[in-house]
Structure formats: C-alpha cells, structure tokens
C-alpha cells in the first residue's frame, strides 16, 4: 500500500516536471496518469504495486473534493449573481453531451454482447 502510494506520487511529480519542461497547459497529475497507464501495460509489476493504493484512493474519490467544494463559500456572491445562467449551461450542456456521445457510440458499435460470436 505504501509502496503503491510512493510510486503514484513519483508519477505525479514526473508528470509535473514533464509538463513544465514541455510547456504543456496540462495538469502534471494528468501527464502522470498517461505515463503510468502506458508503462503499467508494458510492465505488469508496476500495475501490481500501484493497484491496491489506486483502488483505495478511488473508492473515496468523492471525499477528496469536499475541501475544495467548501471553498465555494469564498465565491457565494459570484454564484448567487449568476445562478440561473450557470444552471442553464449545466443542464443543457450535460444533456447535449450525453445524447451526442451515446448516439455516436451506438452508431459505430457492432451489435452488442450476448448474440455476438
């Protein structure tokens, strides 16, 4: 578990360093995610070390964004002033995104599951 944690943090900082060196506007941990996914496929030992820690972190993913969410207290005025607009954008954009994604996937996918050879 601790080995996995150290490994994951090493990938996070390696990702951060790579993003800065390359001048990418991408968060370091995302570069670390991509690097770990690629290397863990090539080298299963990495996967085995990271897996228990990763699963533990992801099981409580919701917990991790509570402190930042509470930070909205500092922006209540902005939120209150724009509430109607924000809600409209959220609902419409989410509906459009789900609909388009599902239609594109279903259109291109071979007939599903049970009946496939």
């Amino acid at each position: 578990m601790l080995h996995g944690f150290v490994l994951i943090v090493v990938f996070q900082y390696a990702g951060e360093a790579a993003a800065r060196l390359a001048g990418l506007p991408t968060p370091g941990p995302v570069v670390g995610l991509a690097a770990l996914a690629l290397l863990a496929v090539a080298w299963p030992a990495l996967y085995r070390v990271a897996e228990p820690t990763a699963d533990a972190l992801l099981r409580h993913l919701s917990l991790l964004f509570i402190p930042a969410g509470v930070g909205v207290l500092q922006h209540l005025d902005l939120l209150r002033a724009e509430l109607a607009g924000l809600l409209a954008v959220l609902v419409l954009s989410t509906l459009i995104t789900m609909g388009v994604t599902a239609l594109v996937f279903a259109l291109l996918a071979r007939p599903a599951g049970e009946s496939a050879p």
Partner: protein
Amino acid sequence: MRDAMTGPVAADFWVYLATSPLFWLALTLSVYLGADRLSALSGRNSLVNPVLIAIVALGAVLIATGTSYETYFEGAQFVHVLLGPATVALAIPIVRHRGEIRRNLLPLVVALLVGAVVGIASAVGLAIALGLDAALVASLAPKSVTAPIAMGVAREIGGVPELTAVLVIATGITGAALVTPVLNLLRVRDWRARGFAVGLAAHGIGTARALQVNPVAGTFAGLAMALNGLVTAFAAPLVVAWLVG
C-alpha cells in the same frame, strides 16, 4: 456554537478545537461518512448526493461558528492533497479494462473525441451566449470531468478551481438524474453506449449511477470517465482559446 460558549471551560475548549487542524480534518471525514450514510439510506437516489450534502453541512458549520476558510483548510488540506495522487490512480482502471478498450476501439475513440469536444464547446458556447463572465466560462469548461482533473484544468485556463469543484458535482448530479429519460427518448438501447455517455458527461457520479443500473454500462462509464479526464485535460485549453480567443 452558543452552547459551547456557556462556560469558560467549554469556551476555552472550543477555542482550542477551532484552531486545531486535526479537528477540521476529523470533522470533514465525519461529515462525509454521515452524508454517505444518508445517500445509502435513500437507496443511492441520484438526487441525494453525499458530496453536495457534505459541502452544504460543512459550509453551514463554518458560517455558524465564524470560522474562516483558511483555518478550515489547515486541517482539510490533508484530504485535498490526495487529489493529485487520485488523478494518477485513474490509470489503474484504464489498464484493467484495456481488453474492452481494444474490442470496441472505433466507437470508443470516436465517441470519446466527439463527446469531449462537445462537452467543452457546449459549456463554453452556452456560457458565452448567456453573457457569463470570463472566469465563469473558464470554470465551466471542464465541468464534465472528474473533480481533481477539472480543478487542475480550471486553474490552467483562468477559472476558479473551488467553483469548478461545485460545478463538477452539480454536473454529475444532473447527468445521473437525466441519463435514463434522455437516452430512452433518443432510443439508445446499447448498454455500452449508455454507460459510456453518462461516464463521459457526468464522471464519477454518472458512473455510480450506471453501475446501479447495469454492469456493462458501469464498466463503460468508468472507462469513459478516466479517458475523458485525459482528453479534456489536453483539449479544454485549446477549445477555450479557440472559442474565447
């Protein structure tokens, strides 16, 4: 906190607690556990979202006790710093499902790229059309992806990460609540497509919903959540620059 102020001993103890980072850390964990219990009791009703409940409850405590966010964050930061490692950890479910990725490569890649761009562009386009200010537009752009990634992206493109965290949660609840009626209306019956769509548009909260409904949908939702986190992190700065610029 009037009760705590009734005696000098209680008042002293409150002063001690209120400045102790461990107290705010423990309170964050307790409130999360309580909110998660409420969600379980509701039968995981998508409208009873534990994160939303916990944020409202903790916010109410801070306001009622006159505690500053900075004081609260001295304790809560120990949870907050795990957002980075949790993002890296999303590599593991992607590797675990690489068989499914390979078998459905074409629909997956095309739906992923189209969905990611539509997710960002529709949020940014609608926000601009409604005249929201630039910080809000940037905070909305990554709303479909899991919070640790969305907050990192928001910071990169001039948004407000704390606001993005709340918008991400609201998007998750919206997607989880609307996915069934909308995809029924569009007559999409393929569980892979339904799961992929809700995971892409509504990240972990949508994925949790898909898992409750159908295991195939759940697998594809988890996959879409992780992959869209990756694509949106790269695409959001470009799409925003293109639409705003």
